[in-house]
């Protein structure tokens, strides 16, 4: 196989599905109306907005009025968290030490008392830890469905069930939020089965365009708007909607049910097996079993992740790393550190994430190129 462009960073973003582009493109062109306008131009856009809302609602088993569109999942998380906590500063929130910054940072800013649950070596939180951390004033539990770095899956349904039981005893109900951005591609996300009150998802992680996320807000939940100035999205996300991206999200989510993850899982296992066997001093980060079908996160001793990533990029292969050297802040991945990895181990980590268009040939190309690069870099490091 000659040098070509091979994409193994689906966890960062997914290529937009051709069919989605085709169906959504008119909203960048002739169908430009503002959905708030009453004339036919506007109504055409409103129709597209409603249709996308129905697609997301169907996927989640929710009602259309329970779905709001946002410009990104990060913003959806902010609206969810800050919106729940807005009227109450003295409450308590439970989250995890491996949560995305889009959850951790708003929590930090809100000034409430936060419990960060451990994810242990395997990167999986325990339901009993959630139960034991509940306080009388616990107002919100926010736990991501699947981790974007290490791909581990959290027992959302069990936690949801436990909270449901607990809520029977409470006057002030605990609100349960999950960031399902990485999970929606592969796992059932019916909100009633999961027992969640709030759920975040993103368009560009499911083969839709960038620029749209969605937040499910269960009816009758106390969530307050944090932005002002207009009435779009029931006032939660005021501002003229990005119809192209939202329509694209709708088309993309409709295609998800047809997606078969078995091939992805098999290719993931092949990569893990070959790397762990052929590369001495390598180990998988996070549980192998409770893991997204598309995520591989490995540490290679004696190499640094950024240099590995750059060398692979030179061969046309795109991956990601939790190394401090690849982050703007020069801090290693806090997710890997939370798993108990030493700084040096996080330094040598590589995330390989697969997706719908990953082929066996691409996997073989990666497995051909990666081990010699590791050897070369180990010669340079002398380790």
């Amino acid at each position: 196989m000659s040098k070509e462009k091979v994409y193994f960073d689906y966890a960062a973003t997914t290529p937009t599905e051709r069919d989605v582009i085709e169906k959504a493109t008119p909203f960048l062109g002739e169908r430009f109306g503002n959905p708030s306008s009453l004339h036919s131009f506007g109504q055409e856009s409103l129709f597209a907005l409603d249709k996308a809302r129905k697609s997301v609602a169907d996927f989640l088993g929710a009602m259309e009025r329970e779905i709001i569109f946002t410009p990104s999942a990060t913003q959806a998380n902010n609206i969810a968290i800050l919106g729940v906590l807005k009227e109450c500063k003295s409450s308590h929130v439970i989250t995890t030490s491996i949560e995305h910054k889009a959850v951790l940072e708003p929590l930090k800013k809100s000034g409430v008392n936060v419990t960060h649950l451990p994810a242990y070596k395997e990167g999986v939180v325990r339901v009993e830890d959630v139960r034991e951390s509940l306080k009388d004033n616990t107002q919100l539990v926010s736990i991501g469905y699947a981790n974007s770095e290490i791909g581990t899956i959290q027992p959302i349904q069990e936690i949801g069930e436990m909270i449901r039981e607990e809520n029977k005893k409470r006057r002030e109900k605990i609100i349960f939020h999950t960031d399902a951005v990485q999970a929606v591609n592969y796992f059932p996300c019916k909100v009633n089965d999961l027992g969640v009150d709030l759920l975040t998802l993103s368009g560009h992680k499911i083969y839709g365009p960038k620029g749209a996320g969605a937040l499910y807000i269960k009816e009758k939940n106390k969530v307050f708007p944090i932005f002002y100035g207009a009435t779009q999205e029931r006032g939660f996300c005021p501002g003229t909607e990005n119809i192209f991206a939202i329509a694209g999200l709708g088309f993309a989510i409709e295609m998800l049910s047809k997606n078969n993850s078995e091939k992805t899982r098999r290719l993931r296992d092949k990569i893990i097996d070959v790397l762990l066997e052929e590369v001495p001093g390598s180990k998988l980060n996070g549980s192998r079993e409770k893991r997204l079908p598309n995520n591989i996160n490995v540490t290679f001793k004696g190499v640094e992740g950024e240099s590995l990533m750059i060398a692979l990029d030179r061969e046309g292969i795109a991956v990601s790393t939790g190394s401090a050297c690849a982050s703007g802040s020069l801090a290693p991945s806090y997710v890997l550190l939370a798993l108990g990895l030493a700084h040096e181990e996080a330094h040598g980590s590589l995330r390989i994430s697969l997706g719908r268009f990953t082929t066996e040939k691409e996997v073989d190309y990666l497995l051909e190129k990666l081990p010699p690069i590791i050897n070369r870099l180990r010669k340079i490091s002398g380790k």
Binding site: G302, V303, E304, E306, S307, I310, A311, D313, R314, S323, A324, C325, A326, G328, L330, P332, H343, E344, H347, K379, I380, S381, G382, K383
Partner: protein, 123 residues
């Protein structure tokens, strides 16, 4: 369309001065407290002149490239001249470095300085 310049990439992919030096008479080991990179600089000094220099670096592409640059620049200089090498001169050899990577060149300078210190102590 790349993060690093071609010159940085060439140094990173084909460094000329890496490897342990068995008969070095000055060794400098440094670690970057910020990102965790580790670097060892080896020098062989004869009559105050640096005859040979090599490195071992566990770090990013910029750390490897700057390690290679510092060795190249040190060779042929006397210890006093070598201690005067600046970040700016090093980066010039690479055309430029991303702002967040400039600290890699200071690590290399520190490594060489430590190797020269070690040589002075051994004398």
């Amino acid at each position: 369309m790349s993060y690093y310049t071609q010159k940085t990439m060439d140094r990173f992919l084909n460094p000329k001065h890496f490897g342990e030096m068995k008969d070095a008479n000055g060794i400098g080991k440094v670690g970057n407290p910020r990102c965790g990179d580790q670097m060892t600089v080896y020098i062989k000094v004869e009559g105050e002149k640096i005859k040979e220099a090599s490195f071992q670096t566990l770090g990013c592409a910029a750390a490897i490239a700057t390690s290679d640059v510092i060795c190249e620049m040190a060779i042929g200089k006397n210890t006093k001249e070598a201690l005067a090498i600046t970040e700016k001169e090093m980066i010039k050899k690479l055309e430029e470095l991303p702002a967040v990577k400039v600290h890699c060149s200071s690590l290399a300078i520190e490594g060489l300085k430590k190797a020269i210190d070690d040589y002075q102590k051994r004398k």
